[in-house]
Symmetry: C2
Subunit: 185 residues, 2 copies
């Protein structure tokens, strides 16, 4: 489920760990926890962007949000620092066997990653083809060159095989994506 | 109002621009907007961290959060990239004329900034003494050396005068804090 953005996370949280390893987001949260715990990198998932309409104040510490709406995110879900470098990425799953539908990523998120790259940060997307059990890291530079040269509404898996990096699944960490960053630095 | 964290922002948003320039957060949001618009840096305020308990699904696009709670933030409010550098900071106002109460910042936020520094990022706090109409930038290194050497529960303004950098208020941008970052790089 791609929309509303981030809601799955909230359910993963409230469901405790039942979903762990069952979805990309849980794998990335575990991986980032591992990176932080082992002092490798400081990378977090951002909170779900919402607009708050009604808040019930019993007390300052005990405010309850009574009405809020999900906002379309203006940035990506994950960012942080690794070896002094700014890291920024979006993660998406697709059930497709053949391609990644671009409708899964908001245009302004791609624009955001482009800006990150322009300002010397590292921007990428992590895409999991759930039915193929394959997870790829595609750098924004390579995503942009696809978008500039193709009019297609989805990125064929062949493009991932050619331009993206496969992230091997492990136990600790689940998805060692920083290993791929090292090859670029 | 420091708690619940971030709620003031939501009100600033819903009240449109009526509050602009009236508080530190609005000034920083304006400044970051200016930085992005002029292609100087990509820095955003993170969404308010919440835990969602109840969501009403009319449709996927039109979900309404019916119950949620504010979470104590595990990180800071602002981060992004400037000249390839990772930037991370927390911003607080105080009405005090003499000192900044450390109770305004969560311990794990200070710990987070310490980690950012350790990993080669730039971490700092921006503190505005509203009644003195003075806004300071204090780097985490200097905040830590205060915490390591003092047992006090608040940072006296004299320490800011000695160790912090004053951020002059302007029109565009309102608070050109990156100018201070340049002096450190």
């Amino acid at each position: 489920m791609q929309y509303p953005n981030g809601i799955k996370k909230e359910f993963v949280n409230t469901n405790s760990h039942s979903n762990r390893g069952m979805n990309l987001e849980a794998d990335l949260n575990d991986t980032n926890e591992y990176y932080r715990y082992n002092d490798i990198a400081i990378i977090y998932k951002k909170p779900t962007p919402i607009t708050i309409n009604k808040v019930d104040y019993k007390s300052r510490q005990d405010a309850i949000i009574k009405e809020a709406h999900f906002k379309i995110p203006s940035t990506t879900d994950y960012n942080g620092v690794y070896k002094g470098k700014y890291i920024d990425f979006e993660a998406k799953e697709t059930k497709s066997l053949t391609s990644f539908p671009l409708s899964n990523i908001h245009k302004h998120q791609i624009c955001h990653l482009k800006n990150i790259y322009k300002h010397g940060g590292m921007g990428f997307i992590i895409v999991r083809f759930t039915k193929l059990n394959k997870t790829y890291l595609l750098f924004i530079e390579d995503l942009l060159s696809f978008l500039n040269n193709e009019k297609r509404v989805s990125i064929p898996i062949s493009y991932f095989e050619k331009k993206a990096y496969i992230i091997k699944e492990g136990i600790r960490p689940r998805l060692d994506y920083l290993k791929i960053i090292d090859t670029r630095s």
